[in-house]
Amino acid sequence: MQPHPQGSPPPPLVRLAHVGKVYDSGTIALADLTLDVAPGEFISLLGPSGCGKSTALRMIAGLGRHSSGLIDWPTSAYDAAGEPEREIGFVFQEPQLMPWATIAENVRLPLKLARVPRARAQARVAETLEMVGLSAFADAYPRQLSGGMKMRASIARALVTEPRLLLMDEPFAALDEITRTRLSNDLLEIWQRTGCTVLFVTHSVYESVFLSTRILVMAPRPGRVIGEVAIDHPGPRDTAWRQSPAYQAGCRRVSALLAEAMGQPAPA
């Protein structure tokens, strides 16, 4: 449900044109990925391991160079070195918190590195912790928190800079089903509240259909996109959505594409 103004669609936040990545070993991690990420979208990259979905995410984040193609940020400023001001948040598969710092200090890290004044940063940290429901644990150390709560802290750290684009690399993969469901609900809430754009890497069909407005299904060797499914659902994404025929139809379509990606005949 991206807010499309009538007539011309808004320019994409980031545009990938025929992007490829070849490692030094000769492995083709990603071939010819073309993708426009429009503001407000929730896009999932779905596929088996080795399909280049994480590689794509890392290149968008600037954590690795692409070997071919173009990654452009049409609405972002570029600095003198030609680096775009990406305005992104990144949530890794592991929470990646500093064990020696409290949750509040961990969440403040991006602001501290950007030299935001302490008072302003702390207000923003409190606000963000509130958003992920961790206000009571601001002074706790990561080791004192459960896996789900650490992931919440990690999401808070990604959100603290008010990014326009939130990149998430299988953030819930290591969590149990109950915690994952809960975090998925909260992520949608945050997405709606902040109006940010999300690019979400996952290998779960159900997770991607539940969360996304658009799903790119990818195949390995070489990593590439083999299909795209739009999930158009105007209502709230809640338990009723999880049980609706539209959700199930979406899951079937995505599963069929995924089976194709794995080189298997689509199930009847």
Binding site: L63, M98, W100, L113, G148, E189
Partner: protein, 298 residues
């Protein structure tokens, strides 16, 4: 944390307004059950009871077996020597302690600084590391005469300081180098993502990540600096110094075995104090977060 809003019929009710996780996931509780208190007490008194038992056995054995006081004096004689030679022993301790602490602090400062410097540049590390190792494997006793010649016999204390520093330096250097390299790869990515400067990376990532290693090195060095100061005095003191090693040598030559033991007791007590002090520093710096300081409850 806000309590769950029971009346909120909207689907959001299950989301952000509720506590993030079940109550079972609250931070680990601190108070220990009373049953453990009793074990703690026993833990505290058991070593003392063992020590007293050993002393009693020693006293009785010396009497029953009629061992000559020139071979093994009874503990009572050692206590008498401690009391009578107290001022002299404390004076010797002051000398040894000064050498030990200076050597230890020098080793700490130089080890951390050189360790940090080595890890900033791979070429510098490649260039200097083999020589640091060479310094480490060369027996301190073997270079003692050379050091004495360099600093001059009139400044034997300086020779002791240099030798004790050589011994205490390496564990801190090698641990700092290891620690500086041990920052988590995922966290390095986080810092890259937010475009941390080299200095920020050093202050907020490498140094805190290295801290547990540096402290482990520090604890080893604290013990080694005591050993270094004493051994150095044996081999390089040449009567020009007045530390505890000299007291031991002198008492030995005078067959005052009880005083030898008394000096040993003072030396051991000093070593224990060094160990406890570094243990306290470790708890202060790592207690809140590091795995080594966490008590697991099963």
């Amino acid at each position: 944390m806000t309590p769950p809003k029971a009346t909120d019929a909207l689907h959001e009710a299950q989301m952000l307004s509720s506590p993030p996780e079940p109550a079972a996931e609250a931070p680990a509780p601190a108070p220990a059950p009373p049953a453990r208190k009793r074990t703690d007490m026993a833990d505290r008194w058991l070593p003392l009871a063992g020590g007293l038992g050993f002393l009693a056995l020693w006293q009785v054995a010396v009497k029953v077996l009629a061992i000559s006081p020139f071979t093994l004096p009874p503990p009572s004689a050692v206590f008498v020597a401690l009391w009578q030679d107290g001022p002299e022993l404390l004076h010797a301790l002051a000398f040894t302690a000064a050498i030990t602490l200076s050597a230890f602090l020098l080793a700490l400062a130089s080890g951390v600084m050189l360790g940090v410097a080595l890890t900033q540049n791979r070429r510098i590390e490649r260039m200097l590391w083999p020589y640091a190792v060479a310094l480490q494997v060369t027996p301190m006793v073997a270079i003692a005469p050379l050091v004495v010649i360099w600093v001059g016999l009139s400044r034997a204390w300086l020779a002791l300081l240099v030798l004790a520093w050589v011994v205490a330096f390496f564990p801190i250097l090698s641990n700092t180098v290891l620690g500086m390299k041990s920052a988590d790869h995922g966290l390095k990515n986080v810092f890259t993502l937010y475009r941390a400067s080299r200095w920020q990376r050093f202050c907020h990532l490498q140094l805190p990540a290295a801290l547990p290693y540096i402290i482990a090195g520090m604890r080893v060095s604290a013990g080694l600096s005591v050993i270094g100061a004493v051994v150095a005095e044996f081999v390089a003191g040449s009567g020009g110094t007045t530390g505890l090693a000299w007291v031991i040598t002198q008492s030995g030559s005078m067959l005052d075995i009880a005083r030898m033991f008394a000096a040993l007791v003072v030396l051991t007590a000093f070593g224990l104090a060094m160990n406890m002090a570094t243990g306290l520093i470790q708890r202060l710096l790592l207690g809140a977060w590091h795995e080594s300081a966490i008590e697991q409850e099963n």
